[in-house]
């Protein structure tokens, strides 16, 4: 089975974030990066499928040069080769734009299965995998916890709300977006990293691919802190009356 896993590099959890001067993205020099969590689970699923059914695992990731570290981590954990879509404005592209880039880059590989995390931890569109399936013309399923290969194709387990699960079958080729927590993640090893050095990493530039976005990002902002203190003037009686007024009409809690 030939499996392609689309992974994204995102700012590390708990990173202190500042907005850059353009107002459209964060100050990148401040933060460290890691593999998007649900993508890590997608990779794990792919590696386990390959261990059971043999085949090949190819990772694809779009972003600037720094993405190389996350790609190498994926290779170290066991992916066979990688495609790096070199692109410096990934964060300015909408999900359609990114999905177009990836679809274009992986089309020649004709994979049996395309996996990706269900959403990114930074922008959280949650659409890239789904659009990717559409662009490649394959069926898809989302929120997948478990994948099993059958003679006819795949049997997958989806996580629904409130502790419900759904099992569905679909033919191959197909695309799945993976939910975190379905498997235990393996750790990266020194031996893996050393082996990763010798594995193929093909770089394609975004300019050579079709990836035009439709929606344009206007700006980003920190959530506003909703805390304000007011000192109510006047004597006790008067102040109490004003307070009641304010609680009724401004805070609307009375």
């Amino acid at each position: 089975m030939k499996i392609i896993v689309a992974i994204k590099q995102v700012p590390e959890r708990d990173a202190h974030i500042r907005i850059d001067s353009s107002g459209k993205w964060i100050e990148e020099s401040d933060v460290q990066y890691a593999m998007n969590e649900s993508d890590a689970y997608a990779l794990e699923e792919a590696l386990q499928l390959r261990e059971k059914h043999s085949g090949e695992v190819i990772v694809v990731s779009a972003g600037p040069e720094r993405v190389g570290t996350t790609i190498r981590e994926a290779l170290a954990k066991g992916a066979d080769r990688a495609i790096h879509i070199d692109c410096n404005d990934l964060n300015q592209r909408d999900a359609l734009g990114v999905a177009r880039l990836i679809a274009d880059a992986i089309r020649p590989d004709n994979a049996d299965l395309i996996l990706t995390g269900l959403q990114s931890d930074d922008l959280g569109y949650g659409q890239t995998g789904v659009i990717l399936a559409e662009l490649l013309g394959v069926p898809h399923a989302t929120l997948i916890l478990h994948v099993e290969k059958t003679d006819a194709g795949l049997k997958v387990k989806r996580e629904l709300e409130a502790g419900f699960f759904q099992e569905i079958e679909l033919p191959l080729p197909a695309a799945l977006t993976i939910q975190s927590g379905g498997n235990k993640l393996r750790y990266a090893t020194l031996m893996g990293i050393k082996k990763a050095k010798t594995k193929e990493m093909r770089v394609v530039t975004a300019a050579a691919l079709d990836g035009a976005p439709v929606a344009v990002l206007d700006g980003i902002a920190h959530p506003k802190k909703q805390r304000s203190t007011q000192i109510i003037p006047g004597d006790a009686k008067q102040a109490a009356a004003t307070l009641v007024e304010k609680l009724k009409f401004e805070a609307r809690i009375l």
Binding site: D14, H16, A34, Y187, A188, T189, L190
Partner: protein, 634 residues
């Protein structure tokens, strides 16, 4: 019969037949010795070279050799009575070397020490004294091994040891006997022959039994690594630690063949003592058995037939074994080497371990808690942020930054520093030092953590660090060296002890038992400082096992993160021992010991209170006025 003032009797005029027979026996004995010793030596020499080995500083080696081999200091220190008996046997042997040489020479008619000359007379009398001491010593050891039978020597009675003890006894007695006869008497000749035959039987037995240590252990001690738990660097792209025989280095192989099976390591091992599979002696003997069966060029996995992965991952890296071993065996590089082999190649699969590694691959601390929680703690406790102007960087560590008890220790220590007027600050961001992953053998992750931290410390221009955690101290000071130059660092007990004169002193009857953390004691040699601090406000009592012999709390070596132990809990065994001292307070100096005991003491009927030395000191400080936001500050 002559009196003892007589000279040593030496039979004269051996016949040609006797001389030939003697030479033949010597040759046979030598061949038998070499047939076994040769292959062992070859296995050691054909092992991989130690990449970090260098002979200098030679002074340290000479001193170790003098102190541990010649003086037998370690043997005696750890087990005074049997140790002394052993020392006498050893000294007896040394004194006997010349006697034996002369004895053989006499057989060929070329004796060079004339018993009648004053030199000969003096020397033989001297040897006499040693022979008596040696005979008594070996008899004592014999009684201990076969009648007292401490369980550390194993349940199997070693007949070969008994036989060898017998041989040594005979050697001494036949030597002493020769003082009671004359040169011409047939007794002299008989004694000579018995003595000779005993020697010639003894020689080939040496490499066949644990008495191999007679030949190897002086070299092992002389060649041992500088420093405690010295983990060698990995070199090249194929080195992942101890995976197969090809990875065994000359030092490891030499050490494996030097073990005398005395069981000192097992006697003090917290894992062995709580019913785990791990027994450090068996690990060493396992490596030896591997070398015997497969040799140093084999591709066979080291963790397999002769050593188990399960055992190796039960080690708390407390270092009791390495500290105790009288022949210079360094267990920790071997134990951690085997773990490295398993983790660096991905062979180790463990849910807890995998989770810990994943947490540290993407997060900042071993507890897997959001770094924002650390920020909140810093704000709430009003810890100053390090900006390059302060003298000290106060390193919080995972426990100090995220664990509730660890935070209390930090808050107390901050009060002490405020009281002393020390200028300090904490880093805005910190990552785990990598201690648990270093000890678990994950070199990739350790390197990542060490490098990121070193970079952050350099960017912040940190010159001096003080930390409440002995694990952080050790890892930063020693283990990070592989990847850069760490700033100076000290443990808060050392820091506070330096200012002890300025800290409040109010002696009380409160009994405090101090538990020596492994990484502060054996790893750093700090024993007196925390005791001095305890005694500022309380009366110190000692647990039966203390200082160098302290018994681990069970948390080290990454084990704090690996879930429930099999068998009895190490922390419970230690906690009971501390409670039994009758102390009303248990004093610790490590946040890991603290968490382990927090749970373990709760199980006892009337749990004593549990305080870090920083808390013991801080409680004597004058109360401070609350600041604007209600948090106290000294």
């Amino acid at each position: 019969m002559t009196s003892l003032s007589a000279t040593l009797a030496e039979p004269q005029s051996f016949s040609l037949v006797e001389k030939l027979l003697f030479l033949l026996l010597v040759a046979a004995s030598g061949v038998l010795f070499w047939r076994r010793f040769g292959p062992i030596l070859r296995k050691i020499l054909h092992s991989r070279k130690d990449p970090d080995f260098h002979l200098s500083p030679i002074g340290r080696r000479v001193w170790d050799f003098f102190w541990e081999v010649i003086c037998q200091a370690k043997v005696i220190q750890q087990r005074p009575l049997p140790g002394l008996a052993h020392a006498f046997v050893f000294w007896g042997f040394c004194a006997f070397a010349l006697v034996t040489l002369n004895h053989a020479a006499v057989g060929l008619g070329i004796g060079f020490l004339d018993p009648a000359s004053w030199i000969g007379r003096t020397y033989f009398y001297l040897a006499d004294a040693f022979a008596i001491a040696c005979a008594v010593g070996i008899f004592g050891l014999f009684v201990r091994r076969f009648l007292v039978r401490p369980r550390w020597l194993g349940s199997k009675v070693s007949w070969e040891s008994g036989f060898i003890a017998g041989l040594i006894f005979v050697l001494m007695v036949t030597y002493l006997g020769a003082f009671f006869t004359t040169d011409a008497a047939p007794t002299a000749r008989i004694l000579w022959w018995i003595h000779t035959l005993t020697l010639l039987i003894f020689l080939p037995l040496i490499p066949h039994t644990k008495h191999l240590h007679l030949v190897l252990s002086p070299a092992t001690i002389f060649l041992s690594r500088d420093g405690f738990s010295q983990i060698p660097p990995l070199v090249g792209d194929e080195d992942f630690g101890l995976v197969t025989g090809k990875d065994l280095t000359q030092l490891v192989s030499l050490q494996a063949y030097s073990c005398v099976e005395c069981g000192r390591c097992s006697e003090h091992c917290p894992a062995t003592n709580t019913g785990k599979l791990l027994n450090p002696k068996e690990i060493i003997l396992g490596v030896r058995a591997y070398l015997n069966e497969f040799g140093p060029a084999s591709d066979e996995q080291l963790l397999g037939k002769h050593n188990s992965q399960e055992a190796v991952f039960q080690c708390t890296t407390c270092g009791a074994c390495e500290f105790q071993c009288p022949v210079g065996i360094e267990h920790l590089p071997i134990m951690i080497g085997l773990r490295r082999g398993a983790v660096n190649t991905g062979a180790w699969e463990n849910d807890y371990g995998g989770k810990l590694f994943n947490q540290l691959e993407r997060g900042s601390n071993a507890l897997g808690i959001s770094a924002l929680e650390r920020d909140k703690f810093i704000q709430k406790t009003e810890l100053p942020i390090f900006d390059g102007t302060q003298e000290y960087c106060l390193w919080l560590g995972c426990m100090g930054g995220y664990d509730p008890k660890g935070r209390e220790i930090i808050a107390s220590f901050a009060r002490v520093m405020n009281y002393l007027g020390t200028s300090y600050g904490v880093l805005k961001k910190e990552k785990c030092t990598g201690d648990p992953v270093r000890r678990l053998g994950n070199d990739l992750l350790f390197q990542q953590l060490a490098e990121e931290n070193l970079k952050a410390l350099a960017q912040n221009k940190v010159k001096k660090i003080v930390s409440i955690c002995p694990h952080c101290v050790r890892t930063i000071q020693e283990d990070w060296k592989a990847y850069g130059t760490p700033p100076e660092i000290e443990h808060h007990s050392e820091f506070m002890a330096r200012f002890a004169g300025r800290l409040p002193k109010q002696k009380s009857d409160e009994k405090v038992v101090f538990h020596d953390p492994c990484y502060l004691g054996r790893y750093r040699n700090v024993y007196d400082e925390p005791r001095e601090l305890v005694q500022l406000s309380a009366t110190l009592v000692e647990a039966p096992r203390h200082r160098e012999r302290s018994f681990c709390c069970g948390a080290g070596g990454g084990l704090a993160f690996l879930g429930e132990e099999t068998g009895e809990r190490v922390s419970h065994v230690r906690a009971q021992e501390l409670v039994a001292t009758g102390a009303s307070t248990v004093g610790t100096a490590c946040p890991f010991c603290n968490t382990m005991f927090r749970d373990a003491l709760a199980a006892s009927e009337k749990p004593p209170q549990l305080l870090d030395i920083a808390q013991l000191v801080a409680r004597g400080l004058p109360p401070v006025a609350p600041t604007s936001n209600g948090v106290s500050k000294a």
